[in-house]
Amino acid sequence: MTPIVELDGLGVRFGKRDILKDLRVSLSGRTIGLLGPNGAGKSTLIQTLVGFVRPGTGTARVFGHDIRRDPKPIRSLVGYMPENDSFISEMSAVSFTRMMGELSGLPRDAALERAHEALFYVGLGEARYRTLGTYSLGMKQLAKLAQAIVHGPRLLILDEPTNGLDPPARTRMIRLIQEMRESGEMHLLICSHLLRDVEETCEEVLILKQGRIVHFSNLEAERAANQRFVELEAFGQQDGFAEALTGLGCHCESTGAGRLKMTLPVGFEVRDIYRLAAARDLQLRRLNYRRDTLEEIFLKAMES
């Protein structure tokens, strides 16, 4: 797969402080999550990719364009939704989005048409002639998203897209991100400290800690791998149950009170567990595929 973003020994320094240190990774997923605690360097990495910050060491490439040599082509291909409020309060949403489209190179008429489309798309169609200063926080977030997609970028960078949103607005934002991902027209790089947002939207996840990469994985692959773990809770006489499962190739570990943790062999049918339980007249009260949640991946990465 063609890499979207390649970090090649990227380092950034503010004054005497190293913010990013020797980052090396190749990101090629449709949606990439950028995770890390506060101060890990997530926003700095994004700002470096869009050319706001010059790297001290190494470099990065976006769609093959070097951020040191070709910042302008990168900016043409990227849409950026910053974390904080970014708007001109006395402009209407449609004028603002149109101006941003024109600054990206769209002709006047095309920019106006795309501004209307983008605002309808994000759900601000009815409010598009209102001045941005009168918008609620959720609407401002959507307006930022509209200006980021108005010119049809190939890579959309979202910095904390659900920041400050109430649950319905958050759900709406997540749904929009999922729709954009499924449209197949663009790649998304989502920076967030909310694990649930990343888990719901991203295929790949890059975790930063103190300016270094501590974990990079494909969430889909990890989820698929983790489907081989099962936790079950049984009620009744359990003598020989674990042994029978072991005989079928499972690795079992009792955690007490009728609970078992099992690793299933390749090709194992889960219905065999029910068959064995029925043969022993055991009640299966709970049977879960145990997934390594993103939270566990994140916590492991933080401990490393």
Partner: protein, 287 residues
Amino acid sequence: MAVYKRTYKAYEGALTPAWSRFLILPRSAYGRLMQSKFLVMYLVSCFFFPLGCAAFIYATHNLSFLTALNIPTGPVLKVNNTFFQFFCGFQAGMAVLLTAFVGPGLVAPDLANNALPLYFCRPFTRAQYIFGKMSLLLAMLSAITWVPGLILFLIQSSLAGAGWARENSWIGSSIFIGLLVWDVVLCLIALALSAWIKWRIAAGGAILAVFFAGAGFGTAVNAIVRTQYGSLFDLRRVIGFVFSQLFRELPPTTEVPVSDAWTALAVTSVLCLWLLSKRVKPFEVVK
């Protein structure tokens, strides 16, 4: 009414040339500025004096017209370098007030709500941003300063004949150079103060303070240090020295050499550019 589908699609049409994109900013800002009735009224009032001057030039060449209207025709002022220097001085003052009205609305609204990252995450440079913002004010100042000045010069040339125009062509150059330099200095001061003071009224006040408080400060420096170089803090006086040189009306001795006046204007411009470069950035590093 157009119906828009709620689907996302990429843009695949033609793009505008990169060099022309700075023009988007003045176009957008012009629409917002013209919503102020006060500004429109002031802008219109800036043309009264040039219209009066045009009428005066016409009258000086048509004394029979005044006689026909029973207007007494005594000794009439000549339309010469002194006349145009006075015109430039008057319109330069009007330009200061226009700058105080327009200037605060240039960069401050972008800084107030942190809009700069959205400009600079696009293929749009800081230089284009500054030039774009400056071009609107420069166009408006030009419209009330050197453009009417040159029109008056052309009217006088057409009425006085080709001989006068040939002999005084340097006046046209002086009008253009003197007022253009003043306009550029005003634009840079307005942009720099607008970039550092987010509150519009305060920014407007600061622009006026540069001219009026600068004059007071200069006088105080002259009195305390017993020098004449304090006059360089008074930018209206500084441009006055420059006009005197350009219109060949320089007295035998001036408070400060005219070269120092030019240097003061250059230093002011460089200082403003430095202030702009410190402020107009896509993000702020919090130390």
